[in-house]
């Protein structure tokens, strides 16, 4: 057994060697055969034959020299490979000869395969590939069940966090990060102007829990998470590279954050991108340990992540959480504040990208349909080409090529096309992916880690081979199946060919149109939803306002704060071009926090009250952001009564707390203090455009009862905000030399960021639909144009017999429309059946939206008409004399 296997391996190697050393071996055989013949001739001469007969006899006895050589090659080498090499070189020759056909085919295939590879990379990164952490299956996101109320109602207090850490048995580690850090929240002081950077506080065990190791330096130590400890920071790889030119000597040195010398203790790996996993589109520069002891009175601030113990399942952990969390106190020093958290556990991966699952699968289907259209289209082109090559095949068949050989030949050609197309497609996919990976404005998770990896290449190979076979199989069987000898006798082009051939091509075109119809309707629905989202009344007007974060130092004195803010606003409003200005601590559609509000002296049942988004604003802010005051008045600088604050509520709160009454003048308990309702504003979409607005309230930023979490200056202007940047910055610098140099962020950008996933999918859907439409119209054009060419003679005869140019033209157009109508009918029925599948992806649009359907059908019909009109015109210009004289 072993010996025979050894023999087999030895022979395989010898065969391969013989295949490669083909030329010298052939030469050797030639020499040998020459000697053979010489010997034979010599013997025949000895037997008394004359030289001519001697030679003839020898050749007869030897047999066919070429055949002997073929047998020799087959016996010693790799006969299959020989044939393959022949097929390949023949195919390449053919494709080179028909270069324009080849270019079109490669381009079409490249588009189809490229789009598929690019979408696969996105799907793979977002859905299929595990998160970039070791044993990422064990990672779990923990947050409260709270559909409304934003981050505050999803996070936990540090006391609850620590209590759960101590009590859990299901989790190896529980960690978290401070959920309320905004971008550019820290000033980096160095040489020159202070620079705004983004810092994030994370629990001391954050990186060890995720399994992220610093590439330089070390993790936070336990002491560094204690009160009054030496400030330290870990730097993101990107920040380290950008700001410090990847200088390893930075470890152990201090950088100044908000004036506090902070020691850099380590650099995180390049692969760790906090934003892409936890907060799409966000950038974090430095990580600092969250000092829990300082955060006890901050309320719910920690977003929790845990790592399950090996062998513990998510439902087991959920069961444990269900018993522990309701018992946890909000603040262990103040049990009177109450207790009772809820907890929903999600696989971190599901949490990050689960919501996108359906959209991505839809995208995947769409791009698969594109590929199908590409295949059908190319199949059609090859079929047309194969028809004109029938004679060639007949000749090859007559020369001894069997049916199998001819099929193999055609499949080789289509595979070569697919491979070249795939190379082109890979290039396109690479460009698309590189572009996507650098779009931080798209709020999709993990986008920055998209790349063409091994899996994508594997997918490319799979798709390419499938495409090659799918494209080639129909023409191959169709052509080789024909009675080839009949082709040799054929009179040549110019007459109608077999009906079945035309019917097959017609069916292919119908398939194409139907698929394109499906794509168009799907994309149309997505696009319409996106337009609906853009049309939503957000409750504020993002278009002409912009924000810049303001740094000021009031020393904790609320009176001083009022003076500073008032003078900032007064000066900013004097800048030419600034219409109004105001300051808020949080902007809509960015970070949010929530408190509570209720009518004073009223008791509520559980569930009647909701977490209320809270914004601490100055007079003028409502105008600056373009909110609509329905009733009452704006906040004023004088609203600083220590006993009773003022509050502006949104309509949702007004309806809930004072149904059927005038809320103005009512006394509420807002954020733990008494406050008089002075105004009602229209609801603002605080999180995104698609969900209903929650409870919202606006309190004075200068009220002594409340503490703002920062200050964003919002201005309203008709000028481009960047043109005002330097003037505004000058004012801010005069007020506070430590004001970091930041730029205006258009409020529209916040809205765009929130709608970017929908935009992303709508645009991609639109691109695919356009691609499908172009391919389908190419298909129609190809078939009609080809049939006109085929029937040149016939049309010539008909025109000679009196048919008018108009009649001929009409005939061709009618033929086109017949195909198009059948395709559209099939496509529409399929769309009606399938559109329910996309219902969950739509916004304000019915899956059977008649306008979308009618619009897309008309579009498709019009394109089909144009695609048919061009060949129809050509047909009507056929000169009977010329048509009949040729051929």
């Amino acid at each position: 057994m072993n010996a025979s296997r050894k023999g087999w391996i030895r022979q395989s190697l010898l065969r391969m060697a013989a295949f490669i050393r083909r030329r010298p071996l052939d030469q050797d055989l030639n020499d040998e055969m020459a000697v053979h013949l010489e010997m034979a001739i010599e013997e025949n001469l000895k037997r008394g034959l004359n030289p001519e007969d001697a030679r003839r006899q020898a050749l007869i006895r030897f047999g066919n020299v070429g055949q002997a050589r073929e047998y020799h090659r087959a016996a010693r080498g790799l006969p299959g490979m020989d044939v393959l090499m022949q097929d390949l070189s023949y195919a390449l020759r053919t494709l080179r000869r028909e270069i324009s056909f080849t270019l079109v085919a490669v381009l079409i295939l490249g588009l189809g395969i490229g789009a598929n590879v690019a979408v696969f990379s996105v799907v793979n990164t977002l859905l299929l590939r595990p998160l970039p952490f070791p044993n990422s299956k064990q990672l779990v996101r923990i947050h409260q069940e709270a559909p409304k109320g934003g981050e505050s109602s999803m996070t936990y207090s540090v006391d609850a966090t620590q209590a759960f850490q101590n009590r859990t048995r299901a989790f190896d580690e529980v960690t978290g990060y401070f959920a309320f850090s905004g971008p550019d929240n820290v000033k980096l002081m160095g040489n020159g102007q202070p620079e705004p950077i983004t810092a994030l506080s994370v629990a001391g065990n954050f990186f060890p829990t995720l399994g992220v190791e610093p590439i330089l330096g070390r993790q936070f130590s336990a002491e560094e998470c204690l009160k009054n400890s030496r400030p330290v920071a870990l730097l993101s790889h990107d920040f380290w590279k950008r700001k410090y030119a990847s200088d390893p000597a930075l470890i152990g040195q201090a950088i100044k954050l908000d004036g506090i010398p902070t020691t850099v203790i380590g650099i995180l790996p390049e692969t760790f991108d906090f934003g892409s996993v936890f907060s799409p589109g966000a950038r974090v520069d430095v990580y600092q340990p969250a000092i829990f002891a300082n955060m006890e009175d901050w309320g719910n601030t920690m977003a929790l992540v845990g790592r399950l113990k090996p062998g513990v399942s998510l439902p087991q952990a959920q069961a444990e959480a269900n018993t522990i969390f309701p018992e946890l106190f909000f603040n262990s020093k103040h049990p009177e504040y109450g207790h009772g958290y809820t907890a929903n556990l999600y696989d971190l991966k599901d949490y990050v990208s689960g919501k996108l699952r359906e959209s991505l699968l839809l995208l995947w289907c769409g791009v698969g349909m594109i590929l199908l259209i590409v295949c059908v289209n190319l199949s059609n082109l090859l079929l047309a080409r194969a028809a004109t090559r029938r004679k060639e095949f007949a000749i090859r068949n007559a020369l001894g090529a069997g049916r199998g050989r001819l099929i193999r030949q055609l499949l080789t050609e289509s595979l070569i096309l697919a491979v070249i197309g795939a190379l082109v497609g890979l290039g396109m996919a690479y460009a698309a992916i590189t572009y996507l990976a650098h779009q931080s404005s798209i709020s999709l998770p993990l986008m920055s880690s998209i790349r063409l990896d091994r899996e994508a290449l594997g997918w490319t190979v799979l798709v390419t081979v499938l495409t090659g076979l799918l494209v080639g199989v129909l023409p191959a069987f169709k052509v080789s199946g024909k009675s080839l000898h009949a082709s040799l006798k054929d009179s040549g082009p110019g007459t109608s060919e077999g009906r079945s051939h035309n019917r097959l091509r017609g069916a292919l075109v119908i398939t194409e149109i139907a698929l394109a119809c499906l794509l168009l309707v799907g994309a149309g629905l997505l696009l319409r939803s996106f337009l609906h989202v853009l049309d939503v009344d957000l409750g504020f007007q993002p278009s002409q306002s912009a924000a810049i974060s303001v740094d000021y130092d009031d020393g904790g004195n609320v009176v001083k704060r009022g003076v500073i803010l008032q003078s900032i606003l007064a000066r900013v409003e004097q800048i030419p071009g600034v219409e109004t200005a105001g300051i808020t601590d949080n902007l809509p559609m960015s970070i949010n926090r929530s408190w509570g509000i209720q009518a004073k002296g009223h008791s509520y049942r559980k569930g009647e009250l909701a977490d209320t988004f809270v914004y601490l604003v100055t007079p003028g802010y409502l105008n600056a952001i373009g909110m609509h005051l329905v009733k009452g008045r704006d906040i004023q600088w004088q609203d600083t009564d220590k006993k009773q604050a003022v509050v502006i509520i949104n309509e949702t709160v007004a309806r809930a707390l004072w149904p059927g009454q005038d809320p103005i003048g009512q006394i509420a308990e807002a954020g733990g203090s008494d406050a008089q309702v002075i105004g009602v504003v229209a609801d603002v979409h605080e999180t995104n455009a698609e969900t209903q607005a929650g409870w919202q309230m606006y309190l004075s930023q200068t009220a002594p009862q409340y503490g703002p979490v920062g200050a964003d200056l919002v201005i309203r202007t008709k000028l481009p905000p960047t043109s005002l940047g330097s003037a505004v910055m000058q004012v801010l610098r005069q007020m506070n030399p430590a004001q970091p140099a930041t730029e205006f962020r258009p409020i529209q950008q916040l809205v765009d960021h929130a709608t970017s996933p929908r935009r992303f999918f709508a645009i991609l859907g639109g691109i695919f639909a356009a691609l499908g439409l172009i391919l389908a119209s190419l298909g129609i054009y190809g078939v009609i144009s080809y049939s006109v060419t085929q029937q040149t003679k016939e049309i010539g005869i008909r025109m000679a017999l009196g048919a008018t140019a108009g009649g001929v033209q009409l005939g061709v157009i009618a033929k086109t429309l017949r195909l198009a109508l059948v395709g559209i009918a099939v496509g529409t029925i399929a769309s009606l059946l399938l559109s329910r599948e996309v219902a969950s992806q739509l916004f304000g649009t019915s899956p059977n939206d008649p306008e979308t359907f009618v619009g897309m059908i008309l579009l498709l019909g019009a394109v089909a008409l144009v695609a048919g009109y061009v060949p129809a015109r050509r047909a009507s210009r056929i000169d009977p004399m010329i048509a009949l004289r040729n051929n």
């Binding site: 023999g7 030895r10 022979q11 010898l14 065969r15 013989a18 050797d28 055989l29 020499d31 040998e32 055969m33 000697v35 053979h36 010489e38 010997m39 034979a40 010599e42 013997e43 006895r61 030897f62 047999g63 066919n64 020299v65 055949q67 002997a68 047998y71 020799h72 087959a74 016996a75 010693r76």
Partner: protein
Amino acid sequence: MDEKLDLMQGTLDLMVLQTLSVMGTQHGYGIARRIEQVSGDTVLLNQGTIYAALVRLQQRGLIDAEWGTSDNNRKAKFYALTKSGRKQLGKDIAYWTRVTDLMGCVLAMQADGGER
């Protein structure tokens, strides 16, 4: 033209081995001629096909080949049986004898015309 025997698959290889075993080192033409002579010119053999058999046997390690000089001073490729070729020949002969014996029995039974 006389009807000639069409060779069964694999029999040519055995003939070549046997020829080499009897004649010792020999070139392709010699082998082909010898087979023809022995068979009384009844074998349907294009002499050229012998070279496929030779290269096949060579790759299986049953024969060796080397360019040399013939009796009348011609450069030719000479083939010789290897050790494992001799062993293989013994096996093949034994196998072939069993097959022919069996076939003889079976055909004899049919000639009797007895049981079927």
